[in-house]
Symmetry: C2
Subunit: 315 residues, 2 copies
């Protein structure tokens, strides 16, 4: 992307606001980047943002997140939502790139739906930091439901709480899956649980295990997270899932949980932007403190790098 001046930013913002797909794409690329000019764009888009319902779908690879997403889309459209999808999952068929062996077809069900994959590589932990600004772009373009598909893996899965209003965790009935999820500390984060591929043996048992695990965690106050069985591949149970999603949305709006959560999201979003700016310094600070010669000396054990680091930290 060439250097962008204020006039170009205005034009880009205008394109986003009128819902032009190419402008949306360019704008997301810009806000995903670390280019400081993205803040200019966000400044212009801000008055038109903050209104979409953000639905997170998470789960381990193979849990059927993409198929669920694909099944949810037409149902959410039928409820009157304009749907945008952000896939933060390198293995998602929505993520473009090398789409080998995917079963997802871009058919009528996806008409009018903006689908975009966000980079999951780059700097450490950059995985989902691109989400909040990308959501703002979609909001400014008139999308009022943003579905965020994220691959479930430890930290990354936990992060979804900071970007989504409602988190759906997809599991599959396989031995140890509940245990794995508990160990990874992700069992507590979902608002709705889906046991997908419910035609497989052990689905009912898994729901029971999950219910027990949740009760162990003492999650009974306030919202009691439903556990629903689906067969995403043929759409079975997805209507019920949509109802639970709407219910959770309403519950939060009525209970005031919405505001608390949105404040957390906002804080996380701003902190991430600040974090990004500071992170860019890490590289230059490293270079400044440790020259190639110094690194070589450290490697040979003739120079101890830590006192220099400590000096910098104290300064």
């Amino acid at each position: 992307m060439p250097a962008i001046d204020n006039q170009a930013i205005d034009a880009l913002a205008q394109g986003v606001l009128s819902g032009e797909v190419r402008s949306i794409a360019r704008a997301i690329t810009l806000v995903e980047s670390r280019d400081p000019v993205r803040i200019e764009l966000l400044t212009r888009l801000f008055p038109h943002t903050g209104r979409a319902f953000k639905l997170g779908i998470t789960g381990a690879p193979g849990a059927g997140k993409s198929t669920l997403t694909y099944q949810l889309i037409p149902r959410l459209k039928a409820k009157g939502y304009r749907v945008g999808v952000l896939a933060v999952d390198p293995t998602s068929p929505f993520s473009g790139g090398a789409i080998l062996g995917d079963r997802i077809r871009f058919d009528d069900a996806l008409e009018g739906v903006y689908i975009r994959s966000l980079a999951s590589r780059g700097s450490i932990g950059g995985l989902s930091r691109g989400v909040p600004p990308a959501v703002r772009v979609l909001e400014a373009a008139g999308y009022d439901l943003v579905l965020i598909e994220t691959v479930g893996a430890g930290q990354l899965q936990v992060d979804v709480r900071f970007v989504a209003d409602t988190v759906v965790l997809a599991l599959v009935p396989e031995a140890g899956d509940v245990i794995q999820a508990m160990k990874a500390g992700i069992i507590e984060i979902a608002d709705i649980y889906v046991v997908n591929k419910a035609d497989r043996e052990g689905a009912t048992r898994m729901r029971l295990d999950l219910r027990n695990a949740l009760e162990l965690g003492g999650k009974s106050k306030g919202w009691n997270p439903p556990i629903t069985l689906t067969e995403a591949i043929n759409g079975k149970g997805v209507d019920e899932l949509v109802e639970f999603i709407e219910e959770h949305k309403q519950y939060q709006q009525q209970s005031g949980g919405w505001r608390t959560r949105r404040l957390q999201q906002l804080e996380w979003e701003l902190q991430s932007l600040i974090h990004d700016a500071l992170e860019q310094q890490a590289h230059s600070v490293t270079r400044r403190l440790f020259s190639a010669e110094t690194l070589e000396a450290v490697l040979q054990g003739t120079e101890n790098p830590f006192p220099k680091l400590q000096e910098w930290m104290g300064s």
Copy 2:
């Protein structure tokens, strides 16, 4: 842990150097933390570090990493190594915590082996930043082979390159696994590939797919990564794997690849420490720029937060 003064740091360093297990445990807890005093400890340990061979084992959950690790340990001990294990994998049986359904027993095979799990939660991307300082603690305590088990998931899996001298990627013969790995961009990072659970159908086929995928990537210059079949559960193929590991180690030492890699590791280690220090600032900067009232106003759309952010970035 109570506040630590210089005298306590000296005692802790002394304990590590004499190989006391409790001191090692406390020292790793300290260097894993963000306590600035950890730099003091690293300063003292540094002269006794930098000599261990760091072996990374990565792969998706269920690939059998822990079982492989368990099988590798006695064989590496037989080669004369003093082995330490760092598990950066919340689903690993080595990770302690709720160890339900684990098959790993702490028996003779693990005698004299220091095993430690590292936090995989905490701040974004913090996942493996604790590894390099924990390695230094183990080195100072006399361990000369540190086995690092990391769960494979996008970014996290890629990071293992920055902490390990030799990376073993474990895969299982299941449809799409090679493709998933390719999409996640992790196919290029390993030095040795293991098709584990090789008694399953499709193992030979997977080796072929993998070989083709690697050749596509043009990885033929220099080290040609071997692809070995194992059945970790009964130890089949693990002797061969050990030979490949030794071969790769020697190859790197002779080719000079070792030095390049270690320079990268060192740079990443120092940058991570700088990063951590800057990251701690992100929180306080956020608080300073955005009061609770401001956040509330932003949420209600009456205040645009981005100009303030831009001003800070420009300053």
